[in-house]
Amino acid sequence: MSDTIEKVSIIVSKGSFEGVYPALIMANGARMEGIEANVFFTFFGMDAINKARNEHLLVATVGNPGLHIPTMVGGLPGMASLVTHQMEKKMEELDFPPIPEFIQLLADSGAKLYACKASVDMFDLKREDFLDDLEGIITVGEFYKLAAGGQIIFT
């Protein structure tokens, strides 16, 4: 086995703000190192490439002990927006792009973006619901073919 990584295929299964970012950062980091990158969006992760939704991803303020705020407080109206906004501000300071721009950056960097066929069917979505930069809607089998010879990361 080679001691360098030539290709990564990253699966994005979560649709929360904090569920999507790590995968985007890892995919971008791969491209910056000259590593080939595929990003496969499945289930709620598809919101990140959904034209109507990818600007509006929110931090999960309920059921997220890492935030260290009481669940009842996290459930108050507007809490998710508030926390997301704060996180966005911090990220902008660090020059992290917002999600739609990040997806564009990935596509421009040569990362290949795919949606999961099973999830697209389940949520009754169509190609038009997704960004133009989407490479295609593919099956799990096709994903494994693309991923062959590289590393697979599930997020």
């Binding site: 971008n28 491209r31 910056m32 190192e33 000259g34 020059d95 950056l105 421009d108 960097s109």
Partner: protein, 76 residues
């Protein structure tokens, strides 16, 4: 020197490459760190798509190496 290093990476340096290398270097000298790929794409005058055409094995990494500055510290 830069030409030799570039040749090892399979790159023949053009004016566009030099634009990126000089921008990286200047930013490093001004701020103490190399720019992120985002600001490189926005501010260098070369967009992200072209950056990866010029430096397929990683624009920020290669341009900083060729410019004789440390590679960027950030994850972005």
């Amino acid at each position: 020197m830069a030409e030799e290093l570039a040749a090892k990476e399979g790159i023949t340096l053009t004016d566009r490459h030099w634009l990126v290398i000089r921008f990286m270097r200047q930013r490093y000298l001004d701020t103490g760190d190399a720019p992120t790929i985002r600001s490189l794409g926005k501010e260098s005058g070369v967009d992200v798509k072209e950056l990866y055409k010029l430096f397929p094995k990683g624009p920020a990494k290669l341009a900083s190496k060729l410019g004789g500055i440390p590679k960027p510290h950030g994850c972005i």
